[in-house]
């Protein structure tokens, strides 16, 4: 995948996405699929909202004592025979992974799904040093053979349709008989499984992400539906876990609470198909397992978020519910966001990770409809955090000049009621006269953003405040008439 950042070109990306018919076809299924399933799952569990409160509290507690839990995790993981590496930034994390792979003479690494791998651009880096990375999550495999980035954090290839997948398989799996039938999703699945099985067996190192790191036991946990993660981490010589530092949770009891909201929020499942706990490498009496177990804990700017307003975003468990319910995501899909994390969570996280200068479009490209916050299992106030970025942008004068000017003119009048009232009365009177015949405008100077897609209603004329005062004056002048109205 490529980590080229196109976030500054969000508007162009969005325009292209809106004109992309196969993409629009795929996106039309996102909302109906995920929204209904989550709602049904939440409905079936009376304590769902209580569990959300509990999950939020657990993470808040963890973040307040993160240093303690990181140390505990490190000690426990080491005691179980594992290695823990702390990576300050993406380059650091890439170097740690590469060193392990090179020391083991790795030629192929299999990979379970990991957003951190995307964040640090690991695949390109491994390929550059002669190590072949093989994505084993079906969605990740699809986008890898297409040279794309994921468009969704739990369904990376949600932007693709079956026909596109068939065409890619015929192109990439050229060694298979061309006359084979790939018309059914099951046949595509079987082919991917067959191809990947050999990769699993040949891999020297397996890399996975982590949904949780448990401080109490030094355990990493992955939550999957395909079982690819288990093959990735069990078969090779070494298992490397990539996790960012906010994945920490104090105890197994805490994890079991958060797991109850994770899959329900993500896919509407009670639990995902596989929930796999890994503690250390293979022990002498274990039938299988990796010879080495490494956990790379990535900071990449997160510890700086701990002390500020963005701390709440570190509660995120990457369920994807926010994007599944987002009207902007539904319209443009994940690639338009231009980097690794799309949707509302991406709109908060991206400016923190790549800088507000490059990321400023994303927190602005929200209607603030609030649906993301409504469904977030960790009760992250996503609109508030997007507004935080708008404030940073405003403070640093990064807002486009036209917007800033418009806001300034409006604020000048709005703060001077004595001027605002006559000015609006005059302006609306004029606009009303101009628009009287049709009742609306098909185009208006300075309102092209509005009128290119919709009509603008002509004001009725006058202002409510002026008319109200006139009516009150009439009422006072003729109280009797008014009373009989």
């Amino acid at each position: 995948m490529s980590v080229e950042i196109t976030t500054p070109r969000f508007k162009d990306n969005a325009k292209k996405a809106l004109a992309d018919l196969p993409l629009q076809g795929a996106l039309s299924k996102v909302g109906p699929g995920f929204i209904g399933k989550r709602a049904a799952a939440a409905e079936k569990l009376p304590e769902f909202d209580g569990l959300r409160d509990s999950a939020r509290d657990i993470k808040n507690h963890t973040l307040a004592h993160l240093d303690l839990y990181l140390e505990r995790f490190e000690a426990k993981a080491k005691a179980a025979g594992g290695h823990v590496h702390f990576a300050v930034d993406a380059a650091d994390a890439r170097a740690i992974v590469t060193d392990i792979c090179q020391r083991l003479g790795a030629r192929t690494v299999t990979k379970g799904k990991s957003m951190i791998s995307e964040e640090i651009g690991l695949n390109d880096h491994l390929a550059a040093v002669g190590i072949e990375p093989v994505e084993t999550d079906l969605g990740e495999y699809l986008i890898q053979i297409r040279g794309e980035a994921p468009s969704h954090i739990i369904a990376p290839a949600i932007h693709l349709n079956k026909d596109q997948v068939e065409a890619d398989f015929r192109r990439v799996h050229a060694h298979l008989p061309p006359e084979r039938d790939l018309s059914e999703p099951t046949s595509l699945l079987a082919e991917a499984r067959g191809e990947l099985r050999q990769k699993f067996l040949a891999a020297d190192v397996g890399i996975t992400g982590a949904n949780f790191l448990v401080a109490e036991t030094g355990t990493s946990i992955i939550v999957t539906n395909e079982g690819n993660g288990d093959l990735t981490q069990t078969l090779p010589k070494a298992h490397i876990v990539l996790a960012s530092l906010e994945k920490l949770v104090p105890t197994l009891e805490d994890v079991s609470q958060i797991l109850r909201v994770l899959a329900r929020s993500a896919t509407g499942q009670d639990m995902s198909v596989y929930t796999t706990f890994s503690t250390g490498p293979r022990r002498p009496d274990d039938p299988d397992g990796p010879g080495e177990y490494h956990v790379v804990i990535l900071d990449n700017g997160r510890s700086a978020m701990l002390g500020g307003q963005l701390r709440e975003v570190l509660r995120c468990i990457r369920c994807g519910a926010c994007m599944n319910h987002c009207p902007v995501y539904h319209a443009v899909g994940g690639h338009a966001y231009g980097w690794v994390y799309p949707g509302p969570i991406g709109s908060v996280l991206t400016p923190a990770l790549i800088g507000v200068e490059k990321g400023r479009n994303l927190p602005n490209a929200s209607t603030f409809c609030g649906r993301c916050e409504e469904v977030c299992p960790m009760r992250i106030p996503l609109p508030k955090l997007m507004r935080h970025w708008r404030e940073k942008e405003f403070e640093r004068h990064l807002t486009p000049a036209t917007q800033r000017f418009g806001l300034g003119v409006w604020a000048f009048f709005a703060r001077r009621g004595w001027l605002y009232r006559p000015a609006t009365r005059l302006a609306m009177g004029a606009l009303s006269l101009l628009g009287r015949a049709k009742g609306r405008f098909a185009s208006l100077p300075l309102a092209g953003g509005w009128t290119q897609h919709r009509d603008f209603p002509a004001p009725q004329g006058g202002t409510f405040q002026a008319q109200w005062r006139a009516r009150q004056a009439e009422r006072r002048a003729a109280p009797r008439q008014e009373a009989s109205r």
């Binding site: 009207p327 209607t367 609030g370 507004r387 897609h453 919709r454 009725q460 006058g462």
Partner: protein
């Protein structure tokens, strides 16, 4: 309902009507409709000089302007028993966001809290505070109702307008698919990201049209202007009105974007 009687012991609570800047400038009839509904519900209606709640500045990241406008708003309205707005968006801005504008200002904290406690969206004030169960209005038509986001999610406005609409003689309500999904207005969003906004309102317009309703109602003029403008651009014969207008028996006024002279309904 003792909690809702006027602190002055009067039978008619004094309500400050915050008409909102859009109603003030674009569609004053919504202000009069709101005033009538409040008077019918036994309130004394006052309209103090006002401008804007500050939401455009707030959502543009301009805290200083927002706080200044909030202070003016509070000063203008805090003497009333209640503050009512025909908009879930503006009422939500005040009720849920004003407190954070004054964090770290102990002189203001209590004052802002007391103020916010008496701010309401119109239909929720009528139903939840005044106990109104019906209105004396008639409307000959089938309507569909869009739940505007802020009213719905910040203030829980969903059942109240429907409950009042059920009492309107001759009116039938046909619910649209995804009534609680955003219309794509989003304040300045619709002009900052016009293509994305358009894609969202296109879906909304299709859902509205699919109901076969002849009238679209909602509780927020911004969303209504967006949806009405799209419906009209697409040549769809759906009238758009603020819910207060129908509830106040003013549903025959020229609808949003309709010319004044030939505006009489059907």
């Amino acid at each position: 309902m003792t909690a809702h009687t006027s602190p002055h012991g009067a039978r008619h609570p004094r309500v400050g009507l915050f008409c909102t800047c859009l109603v003030d400038t674009i569609r004053p009839s919504v202000g009069f409709a709101a005033a009538k509904l409040l008077e019918d519900a036994g309130c004394e209606v006052n309209v103090p000089p006002q401008t804007c709640c500050g939401q455009p500045a707030f959502n543009s990241g301009d805290r200083a302007t927002t706080r200044a406008l909030a202070e003016e708003m509070i000063t203008a309205f805090e003497t009333f028993d209640y503050v009512v707005a025909p908009s879930g968006s503006c009422a939500g801005m005040i009720k849920t966001h004003y407190p954070e504008l004054f964090t770290g200002e102990p002189d203001w904290a209590g004052r802002v809290e007391r103020f916010c406690a008496k701010v309401f969206e119109l239909t929720s004030f009528l139903v939840d505070v005044r106990g109104v169960t019906g209105v004396a209005a008639a409307y000959d038509g089938t309507v569909t109702y869009h739940d505007s986001c802020s009213g719905l999610r910040e203030l829980g406005v969903k059942a109240q307008p429907r409950r009042l609409l059920a009492s309107v003689e001759g009116l039938a309500l046909e619910e649209m698919k995804d009534a609680d999904t955003c219309c794509g207005f989003g304040g300045t969003f619709c002009v900052k990201y016009p293509d994305v906004s358009n894609a969202i309102v296109e879906k909304k317009a299709a859902n509205i049209a699919a109901t076969g309703a002849d009238t679209l109602l909602a509780g927020d003029l911004g969303c209504l202007m967006n949806m009405a403008g799209k419906l009209q651009r697409e040549g769809r014969a759906v009238r758009a009105l603020h819910v207060a207008e129908v509830l106040a028996g003013m549903g025959d006024e020229p609808a949003i974007g309709e010319p004044a002279e030939k505006g009489a309904k059907r």
